[in-house]
Subunit: 173 residues, 3 copies
């Protein structure tokens, strides 16, 4: 299984700022994913067209089963990751954003400013995460238990996971 | 009052699988609706154009006040019930899907994969339910207390309900 | 800082009904906003084109940093405030509507009928509130802790607030 990781940040893409979101996602995956997997990692600026073409490339050329973005989900003028995501997906999955905001709200009231969403393009699941490394693990803990079964429904082999904090759910047939 | 029930399932529509969602909805309505009502029941395949034309027929020709669908709300390629619903409604009602996912999440983490929504077409309320019979009652228990008042706001007679688990709410004028 | 307050109500705009939503918002702002502010107050009918042009004028001509609407968020045929809002914003902020519905659900099950949303137009934050004065304070208490930081992210001076029931949150840099 291949996983795409996309850090969306003007400053990180110019090297003015060390990307901490992408590595936080890579570490998380290394911790919880038992099945062998490779990652494709991109650091790009907050340009909607570039985010869209990066997501399309990771889905259509790189055959990623799962693509996780970090950054660009806030209200500021340069924050356009959700718009880019919605532009390239076939189906939106509103439950991911709802649950991540609900979980982040327990920590900070500004969680409602995060516009993150998720969706399906072809056989790939794309999930937006917030930019803060601390919020990344919190959000992944909330939604990851549903991801293996989602990938199976999309036609991929069921990825095995192991985590002390949660257990993936797979309905009995 | 007329209620439309639409089971969306390739296998059930081909007779390969007994529809259990539609009958579960019929039983639920028979249990809770005190006001006289009739039902129009359809079992159709997961074809977006067919789901749309069925919803339009039940609204515009059959004059259903309420239309409940079951099935086709997941992430798989053939799951297009929310898209068909959004295509035929005048107004989306995001609170229905949000609440149903919140309630289903207490049972299974994969509840976030359900993309169900609700909306208004003319004077009809259309509500998507998940496909699993167990989840159907759970979701209806969550949203039904708001349905009688919604139908009244849409210009229908207020339907009386009786249920041990919940009470419909009607604001005082 | 300038705040726009828009009451959307056919009856209030014709003078058949005293507007209580707009004054409830003004009182709320007077209570919690420590920074000096002025308000622009409009009472208009439930006409989508008029709601849109009023929101545009308050954003683009009046330079309001925050615009709060009340009314027109239900399922009835004349309720079109969310549609007018979505038509004029650059970015939708789904977390506002989700949280307000969650909070209102603790009081009444019909909270799921409220279709309110929020979004950004240029440098202005537009937030829909329900029509009931009681629900207005409840909803503002839920979302206001995130508003000062949101306005700062949009390029405004950070507005100081003081309230016994909540504290605004501003992440450390």
């Amino acid at each position: 299984m291949k996983v795409g990781i996309v850090t969306v940040s003007d400053r990180a893409s110019r090297g003015e700022y060390e990307d901490r979101g992408g590595p936080a996602i890579e570490e998380y995956l290394a911790e919880v994913l038992e099945s062998p997997h490779s990652t494709a990692y991109r650091v790009i600026s907050d340009e909607q067209a570039l985010i869209e073409s990066t997501l399309v490339e990771l889905c259509d050329q790189e055959d990623c089963a799962l693509i996780v973005t970090t950054g660009g989900t806030g209200p500021a003028i340069r924050d356009v990751t959700p718009e880019a995501t919605i532009a390239v997906i076939d189906k939106e999955m509103p439950g991911f954003g709802e649950l991540m905001r609900t979980v982040s709200l327990r920590a900070v009231p500004t969680a409602i400013l995060s516009r993150q969403t998720a969706g399906i393009r072809g056989k790939a699941l794309i999930v937006n995460l917030p930019g803060q490394p601390k919020a990344i693990a919190e959000c992944l803990d909330a939604v990851f238990p549903a991801i293996p079964y989602c990938l199976e429904l999309l036609g991929h082999a069921y990825p095995e996971t192991e985590c002390a904090r949660w257990q993936a759910f797979r309905p009995k047939r």
